[in-house]
Symmetry: C2
Subunit: 362 residues, 2 copies
């Protein structure tokens, strides 16, 4: 186990796309979305257990979720949970973690991973992470993992890779282009070309390369964090972070750094990845019965019901008759029945609930 290896788990999401299964009080990363008995952040943490010493794993989250993180990951040192006072997207989150880790070990090589993604093939994932970490520790580069696309999914960003490889690492290719979520026709062209991979939001780099990239491409963010040198890992840290987050810009690492840097590489992987960003993607991942129903709940009786995703408390008795292709979710005294084809309405629905019933209901 390499003592210079570090992991930063980004767990700041408050997404309500899975409302009412996920709520503002308990977002997706803190939920057992897959019905495996572990929440997504627990699964993410477990995935890195053998990668680095436990004290090298950091979680960055909103202050409101600190207790939830420590409850779900009781083995974590409390000072390894970094709390953001405001949500500023991924770049400030990563800058914060960089400066924190920099105060501990300037030779660090860091894996940055979202807390709420699914990895079905853990061994393939581990191999990729180790390969990327080794390459990142030896080269001044920013490595991202690119997933072999299994469909022209329009919910993901795509990465176009070059023929040029990193020296000594044939499978790690130079990145030609990052793209936003494409239209379906464009996505089809991407997939057919064989040159595009899904952007999984997983980054591997040495602390030095990451810091250098921030200084070059996001100096206004870097300077805020740099002015706090000497305060990280001291009692002054929280107060300082509070102050700079107020003024720090909100920007993603992709837009702020990755799309601008020229030393960006991608390692193509195929480890059964999904960001589980929609009910449809969850439906695809879940085991289904012969009527194509994906049911989570022990006391669910279905009659003439097909293609539904059902997520209800284990002990709740639920009878569904005559439903086809619906989402049926009950959690915390909130019930949703919605056509699967209309799941994009959830954003409006959750907004309506917040304004009509109050934010405590979302």
């Amino acid at each position: 186990m390499n003592k210079d290896y570090y992991v930063v788990i980004m767990a700041g999401g408050v997404g309500t796309r899975f409302w009412p299964m996920s709520t503002v009080a308990c977002p997706k990363q803190f939920i057992d979305v897959m019905g495996t008995g572990m929440t997504m952040i627990q699964q993410t943490y477990a995935r890195f257990r053998d990668f680095c010493p436990p004290e090298n794993i950091f979680v960055v989250t909103g202050r409101a979720y600190r207790d939830l993180v420590l409850k779900q990951l009781p083995m974590m040192r409390p000072d390894r949970v970094l709390c953001e006072p405001h949500r500023k997207n991924t770049a400030p989150c990563i800058a914060y973690a960089n400066y924190k880790i920099g105060s501990l070990n300037p030779e660090a090589t860091i894996v940055v991973a979202p807390a709420d993604h699914v990895v079905l093939k853990e061994d393939v994932f581990n191999e990729a992470i180790h390969t990327a970490a080794e390459a990142a520790s030896r080269n001044d580069c920013l490595i991202t993992l690119g997933i072999t696309p299994s469909s022209p999914n329009t919910g993901y960003g795509y990465i176009q890779f070059d023929t040029e490889s990193m020296r000594g690492y044939d499978k790690i290719k130079k990145v030609k282009l990052f793209t936003e979520k494409p239209e379906l026709e464009m996505a089809k062209t991407f997939v057919e070309s064989g040159e595009f991979l899904w952007n999984a939001g997983l980054f591997i780099w040495s602390l030095k390369s990451s810091m250098k990239a921030f200084k070059e491409h996001l100096p206004e963010v870097d300077e805020l964090f740099a002015s706090g040198l000497g305060k990280y890992d001291t009692p002054e840290e929280a107060g300082y972070i509070e102050k700079i987050y107020l003024v720090c810009k909100s920007i993603s690492i992709d837009y702020g750094v990755m799309e601008k840097a020229r030393n960006v590489y991608v390692l193509e992987c195929d480890f059964g990845w999904s960001d589980v960003g929609t009910w449809d993607s969850l439906y695809e991942l879940r085991p289904k019965d012969k009527e194509r129903n994906a049911v989570e709940g022990r006391n669910v009786l279905l009659y003439d019901t097909k293609g539904c995703i059902v997520n209800v408390p284990k002990d709740k008795l639920v009878v569904l008759q005559g439903l086809e292709d619906y989402i049926v979710v009950e959690n915390n005294d909130r019930l949703l029945v919605c056509r699967r084809s209309e799941e994009q309405m959830l954003r409006q629905i959750v907004g309506d609930i917040a304004s009509e019933k109050g934010e405590k209901f979302i």
Copy 2:
């Protein structure tokens, strides 16, 4: 207020046609089905408040529901709640009440009423009851209330009346025929003829006429209860009832007495009556929004949802999208979503639940 007037409220049903709104532990008569703030038995009791002295109102129910009756009708004398040890349909229930009342007042005139029917026009109802009770107290007759049919409903039995009236009571007609629930074509013929009324299961008779009719048409039932003379309204009553209910036949008052007796009369009424025997009948009675949704619950948000009947706890947040003509009911941690057109499946569903999950779930 006539001290010889008595009321027998039949509250023995365990029907689960409204599952999970009604359950075996709390059947329909003990539920606020109409969303008025009163349960059906409370409404039924209230309807007779001015008809007779309170101690003259009896409730006959299953032993398991005794406490529920006294909880919902705390003004009742406990000895006015007659408990049947077994369910034997309406004839034994009425025979029991007859003998009980006979031990108190042989001059009684009795109204027998189901606990779980709806009456929208209370004043019309009261007038009909008074007319019928007066006629019954003066004549040896069995009077039933017949409802002017507003549609060819196939869920009700029908009563055909004769042109002949009771002497002194023009509106009380001789009954020609009782019929079971008809097929639709037959029901249409009934309604068009103008000679048929809905059988509301409401009976008015003097104790003497009722006892006489039992002796003549159901002697085997009458003899069981007659052998207990002297025990009614004494500490021996419960034990005796326990014993005879074991052997007493199960038979309805319609089949056992009304269809056979020749002194049966009907008073045509139109007081907004419904037995609320199906979700559809409840849907018809309920106020509806402009999308034809009948919603009971304070926090229900509907999107692209039409023709649904929704019954959920007041504080439950429920979001429905894309449902048309469904029943959505939540109660006591049981949820049902079912097409309104398939409500007859509920019998099978409840049976499945009982056998697969256990009777405590129904």
